[in-house]
């Protein structure tokens, strides 16, 4: 019953929020109540206690519960952020719908169903991408429509490849049908391409950059934190369900590692030459996706722990980055149309959030990403020093990319200080207009940014409890024991 409640309750609340969508405050309150209730339900579900429903097994393990609670918390943060940050009319109901689908992905253990649910999450995200604020007087941007179309096509193709791979695993028997391309190689290739599409690894990354440039940051945050990370957990489930795929596939796994290395290096390199802040952040996220996928493709307990920790850090860092970006892009009371370079001075909390989010993504201590990077570097060192050097080079490039973006947009001198002009003849101080007072950051969004920043910092300073949970969950995985 609790399992079904986690799946169907948010759908019912999404319908309510849709009815209330014109009243943004009410819709946000309803959604927040729903998210808190879901967290309570998720905490009540006993671990590793499978139940059957219509021939399908539903269960929740420690790792999935940790991510489910994280997703719910992050969705709650995003919904609170919507109070002051720009978002579409249907953002709140779509977020609840996506939460329901992601909960179903984490609860259901059937690869066919999880694949189809991932496809459905992609279609739900399309609604949010082209959404306009209620009562807006402008037209939806053509680039936003193009980004939504690209996202939809790539997600459906990804689901198609994934589904074919899972159908093949259903009839795969090791050692069968000699003389043709090994079915296990073929399945692994299909899985690699489909997850590369979902996780936006280069060269399948175009959708992420388009979304970063043309969609609202809160929507992009939900797509990356909820949908991409749940895809990663599905890949872990696939490895867990079909460990034979990994045992005789040393060559293809090496190709996957090299592919993710290239993705990390190219993503970091492209962030150096990005023409806009949004693009630079998009490439930094690509770099991080490459690093996380590398950890997964290393198929070692160290690499997997690093990948899972990295995925967790990515969800937090990306939300922090995008909430901060959304704050930085608000009209700031100064003349529009000027590229500002003093954003840290103008919006100190948002500027600090953006810097901290970027540093967490790159894995600089004492922020949350440092531990995951350490584990991934160790896993790379086990595979050879060339791979380790490539990862370190990617991190260096990403650091330079972030430094360039910060130098160009955040750390410039204040542009508000006008030189005091002498009084003109006959003019008194009282004749002059009052000095301009720029509005500070909205309190709720600034508090949200600070909370996320503190969470990133505390995970970086005290990674032990999380690492122990992740390590325990990784050791339970059958394929790790088999390898």
């Amino acid at each position: 019953m609790l399992y079904l409640l986690l799946i169907f309750f948010p759908i019912a609340m999404a319908a309510s929020a849709f009815v209330l969508r014109k009243n943004s405050g009410m819709a946000i309150s309803v959604a927040l109540g729903a998210v808190i209730t879901m967290m309570l339900i998720a905490a009540q579900i006993p671990l590793d206690d499978p139940t059957r429903f219509l021939g399908v097994t539903l269960t929740l393990n420690a790792l999935n519960r940790m991510f489910m609670l994280l997703f719910l918390a992050l969705a709650g943060f995003a919904i609170v952020g919507a109070w002051h940050l720009p978002h579409g009319e249907n953002f709140v109901p779509t977020a609840l719908l996506m939460l329901s689908e992601v909960c179903a992905v984490l609860l259901l253990q059937n690869p066919f169903i999880t694949t189809l649910l991932l496809a459905v999450t992609g279609l739900s995200a399309v609604l949010a991408i082209v959404d306009l604020p209620a009562g807006t007087s402008s037209l939806v941007g053509t680039r936003a429509i193009a980004a939504a179309l690209k996202y939809m096509v790539l997600m459906v193709l990804s689901a198609t490849l994934m589904y074919i791979a899972f159908v093949l695993t259903d009839i795969f028997r090791p050692g069968e049908l000699p003389g043709r391309l090994s079915l296990s190689h073929f399945i692994l290739a299909l899985l690699a391409v489909s997850f590369a599409l979902r996780l936006a690894l280069i060269p399948f990354h175009a959708w992420l950059i388009d979304l970063m440039e043309h969609a609202e940051p809160l929507v992009v945050a939900l797509v990356i934190t909820l949908l991409n990370t749940s895809s990663l957990l599905v890949l872990l489930l696939a490895f867990q369900s079909f460990p034979t795929l990994l045992i005789d596939n040393e060559g293809p796994l090496a190709v996957m590692r090299i592919g993710s290395l290239l993705s990390a290096v190219l993503g970091a390199g492209l962030s150096l030459g990005a023409g806009s802040l949004r693009r630079a952040l998009g490439y930094l996220i690509l770099y991080d996706c490459g690093m996380v996928f590398y950890g997964l493709a290393s198929v070692s307990s160290l690499g997997l722990a690093g990948a899972v920790f990295g995925a967790l850090n990515q969800t937090l860092a990306v939300l922090l980055l995008l909430v901060s970006l959304s704050l930085l892009e608000r009209p700031d009371g100064r003349p529009p149309g000027v590229l500002r370079r003093d954003l840290l001075r103008r919006w100190p909390v948002a500027g600090a959030g953006l810097l901290a989010g970027g540093l967490a993504l790159i894995g600089i201590p004492p922020l949350g990403g440092a531990m995951s990077r350490l584990l991934i570097y160790q896993a790379a060192a086990e595979k050879g020093w060339i791979e380790l050097l490539a990862l370190l080079a990617a991190t260096l490039l990403a650091g330079l990319g972030l430094a360039r973006a910060a130098h160009e947009r955040l750390l410039g001198p204040s542009e508000d200080e006008a030189a005091p002009e002498p009084l003109m003849l006959g003019e008194t101080e009282l004749d002059r207009p009052a000095p301009r007072r720029l509005a500070p950051e909205p309190r709720s969004a600034a508090a949200l940014t600070l909370i996320l920043l503190l969470i990133c910092l505390s995970i970086g300073l005290y990674p032990g409890p999380l690492l122990a949970t992740i390590d325990g969950a990784i050791r339970e995985l059958a394929f790790i024991r088999a390898l």
């Binding site: 219509l54 021939g55 399908v56 059937n110 066919f112 169903i113 189809l116 649910l117 496809a119 459905v120 279609l123 399309v126 609604l127 082209v130 009562g135 807006t136 007087s137 402008s138 037209l139 939806v140 053509t142 429509i145 193009a146 939504a148 179309l149 939809m152 096509v153 459906v156 193709l157 689901a159 198609t160 589904y163 074919i164 159908v167 093949l168 259903d170 009839i171 028997r173 043709r180 391309l181």
Partner: protein, 241 residues
């Protein structure tokens, strides 16, 4: 050698979707494709018959038919209502003038682009390529229990991908995606129902139909948005502005 008319139906209707651009031709072809596929699955007897409707058939066939009708209805209703204007009451003068400009541009473009045989050359050769591949692959890399089923899913998937690759408007992309989904649907039904597989389950089958319908809704929504914005479904206009 016995002719499998349903397989030919799948082949011909997918070819019409790949070759033609007018939705008045491609939507009926899509509906016929769903019908041919449903009867092909019934004929191949991947699932035991449990219904008596026009002879013995399984519920699965009925589900596929309902899905096909729903998908085609969604797309057809969307195409029929393109001429209507929605949500103009909130637009400011700039938005309205942009819409007028878009309508003029689309009208000019339609007038200056008469029927050209050259537009069909790439889809035609793509179809030939798909035909060769779909005929060869069941022998080179057989996956489904029968060559006919293998041909059906390879053909649907390849024509779907090539329709997307050669599409010049948004509806065509949607049709390509739906053909891909049909290909996967066929593969799942054919392969997982074999004795050495895990067996068909009602939830994945229901979700597959659900995905078809949601996909049609998403395509209809995006097409409506694009047409409302640019008064055309041409993709080159989408990237031009």
């Amino acid at each position: 050698m016995q002719i499998n008319w349903f397989l030919i139906g799948i082949g011909v209707t997918a070819t019409v979707v790949l070759l033609f651009r007018d939705w008045r031709l491609t939507f009926p072809a899509l509906l016929l494709n769903y019908i041919s596929l449903a009867f092909f699955l019934a004929e191949q007897q991947f699932v035991a018959p449990d219904l008596i409707l026009l002879g013995q058939m399984s519920t699965l066939v009925l589900v596929k038919l309902i899905t096909g009708v729903a998908v085609t209805l969604i797309l057809t209703l969307t195409a029929l209502t393109f001429s209507r204007e929605y949500g103009l009451e909130n637009l400011d003068e700039f938005g309205l003038s942009e819409l007028r400009r878009a309508a003029r541009t689309a009208q000019r473009q339609r007038a200056s682009q008469p029927f050209q045989l050259g537009d069909y050359v790439v889809p035609f050769w793509a179809g030939v390529l798909a035909l060769f591949a779909s005929t060869a692959l069941p022998w080179i890399y057989a996956i489904a229990p029968t060559p006919a089923a293998d041909f059906a899913w390879y053909w649907l998937l390849l024509t779907g991908v090539l329709t997307i690759a050669t599409a010049s408007d948004m509806l065509k992309i949607g049709l390509g995606l739906l053909l891909c989904a049909s290909g996967v649907d066929t593969l799942y039904t054919a392969v997982v129902s074999t004795p050495n597989a895990s067996g068909l389950n009602v939830i994945p089958l229901a979700l597959l139909s659900h995905v078809h319908i949601l996909l049609a809704l998403a395509i209809a929504y995006l097409s409506g948005l694009l047409y409302g914005r640019l008064k055309t479904l041409e993709l080159n206009e989408l990237y031009k502005r």
